[in-house]
């Protein structure tokens, strides 16, 4: 153990339990770090102990905040990321130096791609050993510079709490994202009595929230003149808490709404104006709508290539209005004819006010409805064939509330979940979009569980491959008695890879068969969770009911049709309007 394993507070024994706990004075850097988090309103943290971070954990010992010890740091960063998505406020993860910090990296990169608010605190070797390749030393700020919104190397005990406050504020403001503070052990251990001040973003960071009125009026007249308008809602709509403004805008002006994957839930998918998700595995009608529109109102999206398909054929005849808080996203991938820099909610409200008339688009709306009829989302369910994954997703949807939260791994199961679940509320779809990280689902469910209300159901749809990557976190769910249902859509393949091998590599299944998968129901029982297994259609409903009724973590191993594939599909770089409905159309 390190030199400072216990805390010594002279007055700690005298504290009476029925009085409101008085705040202890800060006596060292680590306590200042913890105080900064408390000041920021943090309730939960996710992490794993270790030498260089021990002073911070020691300070946490006396804090009201709840620390969730994860089985692996990667899960700590995913849990914090999901916590940020569901709560809207930065999730916090901690790790020790070296391997602890590098294990956080995947989750930090994931949060960065999806602009999720998150703060990571990493221990570091003592300052005088930095640069010497000391035991468990990694250049953490160097490693994470390209995948954080801001990162900090703390070098002064008196200000370390202020730095944490600033990092927290940075993660939450403007275009959200992950920040990191690297904490050398001598800095956290050294004495200080300085209380951190309120967390503020640095003077050089002033994102524009109120858009330029001229930009708004130019955009408004372009949109008012549209014959075939479409709204493309991106994840920024949810991040900016602008879903109400979006709905009002769309409904008032009767403009069909397409979402990107991170924006699923931003607009109710059962609304007649909803075209649901566009892109590689988006609906046929969404992809038709974005291909044929003449004006696209894009809000808070970075035009990822899984959305756009080939740039040359993306909305090829549309004038683009692009609302974004980050100027660098505007005209990065798709040129914006009408840039509007600002907060999504504010910009939508201004645009709403500036619209002289609503677009004259009756024919277009009718066309959009026709596409919905022409390209329905459907799947085959012959009773004598193996279970279809889409059926499982729909069966869960049928018996749960609108505010049920879905998390996923990455692969086919993720796509079936997003396609066959009808999302109606923001912050109920928690998935790894930009980075596409297998293993995201279970730790994300743990983060979501703690951020959600107790009456919200949490379901994680997993692939067998994805689940295997982080299933050790079942131990955490069991230990802390978390009510989570894991639905493994088990096809004994890393299915998305097999699908691509079938389509593009002549069916050569190189390293994609997972025939040696464990029996997940038994594994769940070994962890102390409840395990179920389903092979037949007629077991589905009852098992779902039993798993949801079980108070604690449960795992259902659904043995699904191993040959099931995800369609529609736009081949990478192809035109969205040329989506394939089956393999022979690729």
């Amino acid at each position: 153990m390190s030199e400072r394993a216990t805390s010594t507070y002279p007055d700690s024994t005298e504290e009476s339990t029925d009085e409101k706990p008085t705040r202890r004075p800060v006596t060292n850097g680590a306590q200042s770090v913890v105080r900064a988090l408390e000041n920021a309103g943090v309730k939960h943290l996710f992490g794993v102990q270790g030498g260089a971070i021990m002073p911070v954990y020691d300070a946490l010992y006396d804090s009201e905040m709840t620390h969730v010890t994860m089985a692996h740091e990667q899960s700590a960063s995913h849990a914090a990321d999901a916590y940020g998505i569901v709560s809207g406020s930065p999730g916090v993860c901690l790790a020790t130096s070296g391997p602890g910090a590098t294990n956080l990296v995947t989750g930090i990169a994931d949060a960065n791609m999806d602009s999720d608010p998150m703060i990571a605190l990493t221990g570091q070797v003592p300052s005088d050993m930095v640069g010497s390749d000391a035991f468990q030393e990694t250049d953490t700020t160097g490693v994470t510079a390209p995948i954080t919104k801001a990162n900090y190397f703390a070098s002064d005990t008196d200000t370390v709490g202020d730095v944490v406050g600033e990092a927290f504020a940075m993660a939450a403001s403007g275009r959200q994202g992950p920040t990191l503070v690297d904490l050398p052990k001598d800095i956290t251990n050294a004495p200080t009595d300085r209380e951190p001040g309120p967390g503020r973003t640095p003077s050089t960071y002033n994102p524009r929230t109120d858009p330029d009125p001229e930009e708004v009026s130019a955009a408004a007249s372009a949109l008012a003149g549209a014959k075939k308008p479409v709204i493309l809602a991106g994840g920024g709509v949810i991040k900016a808490n602008a879903t109400e403004q979006l709905s009002e805008f769309a409904i008032e002006h009767e403009i069909p709404v397409v979402t990107t994957m991170p924006a699923v839930g931003a607009f109710p998918e059962d609304h007649p104006l909803s075209m649901e998700m566009a892109g590689m595995h988006g609906t046929g009608y969404a992809n038709m709508a974005i291909t044929h529109c003449d004006v696209m109102l894009a809000v808070g999206t970075r035009f990822d290539d899984r959305l756009t398909g080939g740039i040359d054929t993306f909305a090829p005849e549309a004038e683009i209005i692009h609302i974004d808080i980050d100027p660098a996203e505007v005209s990065k991938n798709i040129y914006a004819d009408y840039p509007v820099i600002g907060d999504a909610g504010t910009a939508l409200t201004r645009l709403y006010d500036a619209m002289a008339n609503e677009p004259d688009a009756d024919d277009w709306r009718e066309q959009c409805q026709t596409w919905k009829d022409e390209y329905p989302m459907d799947y085959q369910t012959p009773e004598d064939e193996p279970l279809k994954p889409q059926f499982v997703v729909e069966a869960f949807d049928a018996v749960t509330d609108d505010d049920t939260i879905i998390t996923t791994g990455v692969g086919q199961h993720q796509m079936w979940a997003v396609q066959y679940w009808t999302f109606k509320q923001p912050r109920t779809w928690v998935s790894s979009h930009g980075l596409g990280t297998m293993g995201y689902g279970l730790p994300a469910a743990i983060g979501a569980r703690l951020a959600a209300r107790d009456d919200q159901t949490i379901i994680s749809f997993e692939g067998d491959g994805s689940f295997l990557m982080t299933l050790q976190e079942l131990s955490v769910a069991v230990r802390d008695h978390m009510d989570i249902t894991v639905a493994v859509l088990n096809n004994k393949y890393i299915g998305m890879v097999r699908q691509w091998q079938d389509a593009f590599f002549e069916g050569r299944h190189s390293a994609s068969e997972y025939g040696w998968c464990p029996e997940f129901d038994k594994l769940a029982e070994a962890f102390g969770a409840k395990g179920f297994r389903v092979d037949e259609y007629d077991e589905v409903a009852d098992t779902i009911e039993a798993a949801l009724a079980y108070d604690g973590p449960s795992v259902i191993d659904f043995h699904i049709d191993p040959a099931a594939n995800v369609y529609p599909m736009v081949a990478s770089g192809a035109a969205n309007g040329r989506f394939a409905l089956s393999e022979d159309q690729l």
């Binding site: 954080t148 801001a150 070098s155 730095v163 740039i311 005849e317 660098a328 409905l581």
Partner: protein
Amino acid sequence: MTQGLQGPRPEERPHPEGRRNAQGERIDPVQEAKQETRQATVSALVKHEPGVLSLVSGLFSRRQFNIESLTVGPTTVDGHARITLVVEETDAGIDQIKKQLAKLKPSIAVGELGTDAVRAELVLLKVQGHEPDKVHAITQMYEGQTLDAGPRTITVQITGDQRKIDDAVDAFRQFGIIEIARTGQTALARGDTPTTPGESPAASAESTASETQNSSNTQQ
């Protein structure tokens, strides 16, 4: 039993005629617009703190921007530094470079310099010392200075805009250049125009505790 996905096959669907170019701009589908690159000088006023330069160079390598030269040095304001970058990119690329630079947390202001800006570069040239008089004559012609002259080598310094430096290097070739070190271009806007928008040299650097005491890196 339901049917699975239905709908017209890809080739049976209507498709728009329009196209976009690699920069995502709508273009005439018949004549493909080829984007030309141009040279731009970008000036970034930044907080002078550890890690800034690696942040900037990391940004350039990560985003595959083509960088010609980069110079950096302090300004009159304590705690501020100016980074001057010469890049060769399309208009869209230059726009993106400026926006990405502006996103870095230590970055205070970013501007692109006009063609009339004042630019200079410094080069040190070490040439063979066989013909000292001729070397001296060329050095004078380019208003340079001799920094070191020995029996075997002569080292001179030339400053000026890129064209002058290129010409001088050419002129010295006849003596046999042994070594060369160029600083890369640095530049300021001409006259009253601030080099980066809103820049006022009189203003003193504000500093927060974290900015003076802790190094930091940022991307939005």
